[in-house]
């Protein structure tokens, strides 16, 4: 992360307390994220992932009460000074609970909502709606009420609605927890594609470390409101002990290699984190013998 540019997201000494809460949900967060990064946030339940993400479009401190100290800057704008509805033009959000995000009477209108607010022309709107619904696999359900969708379909719709606005920063809070594995892979991959081609910055909170290892290029680990690891996936997932201490797991292949590395004294310095790496390493290691 040697970058001379201005960060697109910056946290300066951010601490946040929810109302009446004695312990901070975020504590002394200092963080810089640059345009075009694909950032994954890891942490146990209650670690503060959601809270951190809510700071990104100003829901904290503008819409949720609590005590925020320090500052969050999005493209140089202090989130204290801009309401969420303005920051929303830069930051797209997918919240953890799919149902709370649904506000309209049909699937197409749900996607259209953000576009209307951006002033997209009706002609373009039709095209974008078709496109994103295709992306998330809901093409046939345009006229269905969002409340008559299955859990996974609702989550796909929430993603589509945020994606349609072509945000510069795309924030997703466990966006695919109800989505089937193939759909999950597809959606995360689409975000990766937009990240590569359009330099969309992605901030993803996710428990499934295999997915994180495959797609992210910057991993942040939060524990009890503090950032404890911040680096590339390679660096972070190789800190198996630190991760284990705060209850997190590593990708299955990493775990597996860690175990055989120790039991068989293979002397591998960099454990593989992706399946392709694991496969070739496996073939190499054992073919040699």
């Amino acid at each position: 992360m040697m970058n001379t540019k201005e960060p697109i997201i910056e946290f300066r000494d951010v601490t946040f307390y929810y109302p009446i809460s004695e312990t901070p949900a975020l504590q002394n967060i200092n963080l810089k994220i640059y345009e075009g990064e694909y950032v994954a946030i890891l942490g146990l339940n209650g670690a503060g992932k959601t809270t951190l993400q809510l700071c990104l479009n100003g829901v904290i401190p503008n819409m949720i009460m609590g005590e925020l100290t320090g500052d969050v800057f999005i493209k140089g704008l202090n989130t204290r000074d801009y309401p969420t509805r303005e920051l929303a033009k830069i930051v797209g959000m997918v919240f953890d609970n799919p149902e709370f995000q649904l506000t309209q009477t049909s699937v197409a209108e749900e996607v259209a909502l953000g576009l209307e607010n951006l002033g997209t022309s009706p002609h373009d709107m039709e095209e974008i709606i078709g496109e994103v619904l295709q992306t998330v696999g809901l093409s046939g359900l345009k006229d269905r009420s969002p409340f008559e969708l299955s859990g996974g379909q609702q989550q796909r719709l929430a993603i589509a609605s945020a994606l349609a606005m072509h945000p510069e920063i795309f924030v997703m809070d466990e966006p695919t927890s109800n989505v089937d594995p193939v759909g999950k892979e597809e959606i995360i991959a689409v975000a990766a594609k937009l990240n590569q081609e359009k330099h969309m910055t992605v901030i993803l909170a996710e428990h499934e470390v295999e997915v994180v290892a495959q797609y992210a290029d910057h991993v942040i680990v939060i524990d009890k409101g503090k950032i404890i690891l911040d680096g590339t996936p390679q660096q972070v997932f190789n800190q198996i002990d630190v991760l284990a201490k705060c209850g997190l797991r590593t990708p299955q292949v990493t775990e597996f290699f860690n175990q055989i590395n120790q039991s068989k004294k293979l002397g591998i310095k960099e454990l593989p984190i992706k399946i392709d790496e694991a496969e070739s390493l496996m073939l190499n290691q054992f073919e040699k013998k």
Binding site: R85, A88, M93, T105, L113, N117, L118, P122, A162
Partner: protein
């Protein structure tokens, strides 16, 4: 379970009324509201009711409309009974019949009937408006004429509150049943109203976060997916509505002879039948709804 809840929301359709832009329809509904409050002339109110029922019938919303009216009508009807025996009207009252312990007054019947007509005409127009207008069309239209964000937002939330409450009610009830909810009837259902409201408040907050997170209410040009254009027809309807309301209102204010409270006489038999019917409708309604809730 669903039947117990009011289905007050848009009924999708393609009727003439559906196709009218939201603002002219809103104007008509407001006009009727104002006139209803300004007069107690049974004929004017009656005329508006007839017009309203006509509009309801050409908008293909009968089944939902009747469902709502099935609940509101008996409640409105009770006004006739209550007013007849205790008119909200300046004394002196003229007794015309005796019904057991109750004395029925001439002014009471008049007052009850007109009060009923009032609420009825307003409700019909409000229902026709809500059931034929897509909520987002309304917001877009209001935004266009410069309605401030806050008011528009409150309107959005209010109109969505009913479906939200409906869903929440169904949800809480299924949740409680799935854990062996004890007892039946009001006693069991009533406590679950608390979580319904708590839940609804929570939903509303979440909804505002969700809407703002998609730039709802932000500055800058807005477009509409459901293209709302005001055609010539809509302007005509609007102007006609405006003129009709203004003229009627002027007439009501100027022409004192429209007050028929002392000139319109009801025969004792008719009055008794009317009052008893009103009471019966109300009681039947209560019995039916209680048994419906007990069944859930």
């Amino acid at each position: 379970m669903r039947g117990a809840v009011l289905p007050i929301s848009m009924v999708p359709g393609n009727s003439v009324v559906h196709k009218i832009a939201p603002l002219p329809k809103l104007l008509w509904a407001v006009g009727v509201l104002i006139i209803s409050f300004s007069t107690r002339n049974p004929a004017i109110l009656g005329a508006m009711i007839v017009l309203g029922l006509f509009l309801a019938s050409i908008s293909n919303i009968w089944s939902s409309f009747l469902k709502v009216m099935g609940i509101l009508f008996p409640i409105m009807v009770i006004a006739i009974f209550l007013q007849s025996i205790a008119p909200a009207f300046p004394q002196p009252w003229t007794p015309i019949a005796q019904l057991g312990p109750f004395t029925i007054y001439q002014e009471g019947i008049y007052s009850g009937l007109t009060l009923f007509e009032r609420t009825f005409s307003m409700t019909i127009f409000a229902m026709v408006f809500i059931m034929t207008t897509h909520p987002s069309d309304l917001f877009v239209s209001l935004e266009k004429i410069g309605m401030p964000y806050v008011i528009n937002f409150i309107l959005t939330v209010t109109l969505q509150l009913i479906p939200i409450l409906q869903r929440e009610f169904a949800t809480v009830l299924s949740a409680q049943k799935s854990r062996g909810m004890k007892g039946t009837g009001f006693g069991a259902v009533l406590p679950s109203m608390v979580p319904v409201f708590v839940g609804a408040i929570e939903r509303v907050q979440q909804m505002s976060i969700s809407l703002e997170s998609r730039a709802f209410g932000s500055t800058g040009k807005k477009t509409s997916y459901r293209n709302v254009v005001m055609g010539v027809k809509d302007y005509v309807i609007m102007v006609v509505g405006l003129l009709a309301s203004a003229v009627t209102l002027y007439w009501i204010l100027v022409d004192k002879s429209l007050d028929w409270s002392r000139t319109m006489h009801f025969s004792p038999t008719l009055s008794v039948i009317l009052v008893i019917t009103a009471a019966l409708i109300f009681v039947t309604f209560i019995v039916i709804s209680v048994s419906k809730i007990i069944k859930t």
